[in-house]
Symmetry: D2
Subunit: 250 residues, 4 copies
Amino acid sequence: MLILVTNDDGVHAPGLAALAETLQELGHVVVVAPDRDRSAIGHALTLHAPLRADLLRPGVYAVDGTPTDCVNLGIHGLLTSRPDLVVAGINRGANVGDDITYSGTVSAAMEATLMGVPAIAVSLDGRTFSDAEFRHAARAALLISRKVLREGLPPDTYLNINVPAQPIRGMRLTRQGRRRYGDMVVEKIDPRGRKYYWLGGGACDFEQADGTDCHALGEGYISVTPLHLDMTNFQSFTFLAQWNADVVDV
Amino acid sequence: MLILVTNDDGVHAPGLAALAETLQELGHVVVVAPDRDRSAIGHALTLHAPLRADLLRPGVYAVDGTPTDCVNLGIHGLLTSRPDLVVAGINRGANVGDDITYSGTVSAAMEATLMGVPAIAVSLDGRTFSDAEFRHAARAALLISRKVLREGLPPDTYLNINVPAQPIRGMRLTRQGRRRYGDMVVEKIDPRGRKYYWLGGGACDFEQADGTDCHALGEGYISVTPLHLDMTNFQSFTFLAQWNADVVDV
Amino acid sequence: MLILVTNDDGVHAPGLAALAETLQELGHVVVVAPDRDRSAIGHALTLHAPLRADLLRPGVYAVDGTPTDCVNLGIHGLLTSRPDLVVAGINRGANVGDDITYSGTVSAAMEATLMGVPAIAVSLDGRTFSDAEFRHAARAALLISRKVLREGLPPDTYLNINVPAQPIRGMRLTRQGRRRYGDMVVEKIDPRGRKYYWLGGGACDFEQADGTDCHALGEGYISVTPLHLDMTNFQSFTFLAQWNADVVDV
Amino acid sequence: MLILVTNDDGVHAPGLAALAETLQELGHVVVVAPDRDRSAIGHALTLHAPLRADLLRPGVYAVDGTPTDCVNLGIHGLLTSRPDLVVAGINRGANVGDDITYSGTVSAAMEATLMGVPAIAVSLDGRTFSDAEFRHAARAALLISRKVLREGLPPDTYLNINVPAQPIRGMRLTRQGRRRYGDMVVEKIDPRGRKYYWLGGGACDFEQADGTDCHALGEGYISVTPLHLDMTNFQSFTFLAQWNADVVDV
């Protein structure tokens, strides 16, 4: 088995090391990860500039790009054969609800799926991110990875996994939750008198609806959310179908 | 009506100017756009650094961030009141199929939706991108924007609109297509002897399945694809439910 | 005459436009400037990544690099023949004293000098930077440029010119002044609880010694400081010569 | 003794580690270095954005800025007291001749000098950069650092030190050499059909004049070049003095 491991916290992050080490139980692991923290980078792909890949040590590449770049470059350029699995993580902090659209970790798994390679994204909830917690989360990633390698995944589908920091009560199959937005922007003045702005200065919260990733995580369960590439809202077709007539004379 | 206009080709792009000018028919337009080309940046959000907003001229802000940043900062920071609509575009080149996950234009509309503001993303297919074509696409954006302002959109749903370059035959309600990946990485050597890599060196192609955005566009129709925020693959729940028992002892 | 004009405030800056327009009196002007603000970038050269040059309109290139990159790429790549002169500016704000080592404007002139092309850097003091002031400074740049084209410059030497905002009393040949450093760092906490730092939060001041650039400028004179490439402190050779014996057994 | 160590190859570079470890013989060493490779960044200072400093481990900070930022932030923000010495290096590759104006390593020493702290920049010539070579260069840095701490440096003066890869024959006091420019730009086409440019594609060479840094280095000697902050070309004053009359009527 050949497993490509990446993340968005950067190639020097402890969560990546824990994951890569643990997955060696399943086969050969190659790390292709950003040379620095690229959190919240979403599914950004570097097309306007070329990429560099530094071989830091055998089996570990640092790329001056995004997690999506790493998966793309890894599969099409750096790895000598096609990987059997891509695992992204272990992210410092949960990736749940609508926030997964910003996540470099989840987007790395999305990119692998676009390339036809089974993929999972793994994140660790909490605040301390101790080595023990990372090892625990890596263990969960190992079990689920083994399952994926044996059973496969539905077409165009990847898994978003969140591991709680507290004692783990089990695992739950979940859906993507919703965020309640209290967001605001914080305006400041720099030492030279120019304004600048921080995004995300407000309180942040998730709807604690049953069945969601955030709810399961809050209850102490590992959340496993199957995601797919199709963002079409088919349910809205009926509503929108009537528009056609009105706007058709463009 | 207050309309926030943004894009991912940058604040100086002609497609943005055409769009902003045309939408003035509907109300007051404020442009908040990246200070430079930020194509393929996905739903990247700038959290680790603050943002700057330069008022280039009345109603036009250049932000040193991503399209997602522009929408977030515009709604929560720069605009004096909440916009009634966010329109992103007009992108140079179609945004169809799975490639929309990379698109800064589509992600800007996604961000507005997360903030509860109706939103559409508009892209122009083709290769020449003449002023006349941009005006034509802006006209289509105007008609659809008017419709959205009057009728609203289903919850958590935004529209991804692609306008063909050729004579327009009408409009079609579509779903997100699939890309056929022939991608590869192109390896090169720089003048100092170091390797570098270009992503996306292979042929690129979309499945021409009936009902998809790419198919409608290819036939000369404006494609209107309703997208939502939920990426959960509910159909996979049955398949994955059986896993629970096996992996539960994490 | 072929004149290459660049700056570090970016290709859309009004000071650049005033300069380029005014210098057309001397010959053909081509602008090659950074696509955005690259102030305080020093003599940074982009070697690890390639550059892009967008032809915004005839004779105006935007480059995604530093002022030094622009001069290098302009001379060796974009211009069809070797320029007779490189003029950088008009910078928003004076470039005097030790601060010139940070200046992208001054470094652009340095780069031209390294390439054997006569060069001057032009900066405007003050706070308002009105169009009238920029035109005034451009006029000064024109007169000095004409002189340089006629008389040449000493080998490996370029001119750093600062124009006062107030009514101009004349021109003075000056030396590089000294800064008195009251600098400090301002520590802040971002909305997510992480520290960040602004450089340069302290008062800033220049020694008002006779003969210096800052002194002349403060008195209302245009300062013209001839700079060269050699930073060797020859006067220190005597002091250091005695070291040789002691450290020679490395 | 408190010694601040930085570089421009990034905080994970082996040359930095060798230097920091060796200098512990002289006192307490704190590393404040860029979080990634920032070669050829010149004297760039980050004023438009704030900086982050991550404490990687006790006494080692990674800063998301330039070498100049690291020295500035280290002295004014991170270190608890003023350092007695700043040492930048060990750079992968020589920093000689006019190329020192591009060097982040040399600029770090320049920044310390601006802040009134004695400083040296250390670079290793060659191509292999083995651990043994870095240790050797670090040893040379140690000897010279000890000397600087004991004897001090002339006002506003810092040392640029280059260590040959081959067996070292001794040390020489040198002046800044000259580069012979055969530079050119290499134009390429990316996989999407857009042009891009590499700087520095030509042959590169230094004048082998006696007494220069590059000459000494080529002969197997450590070059020690005292540099100062004043770039004024005083010798050109006579030539330029006559201009005054002509251009004074600005």
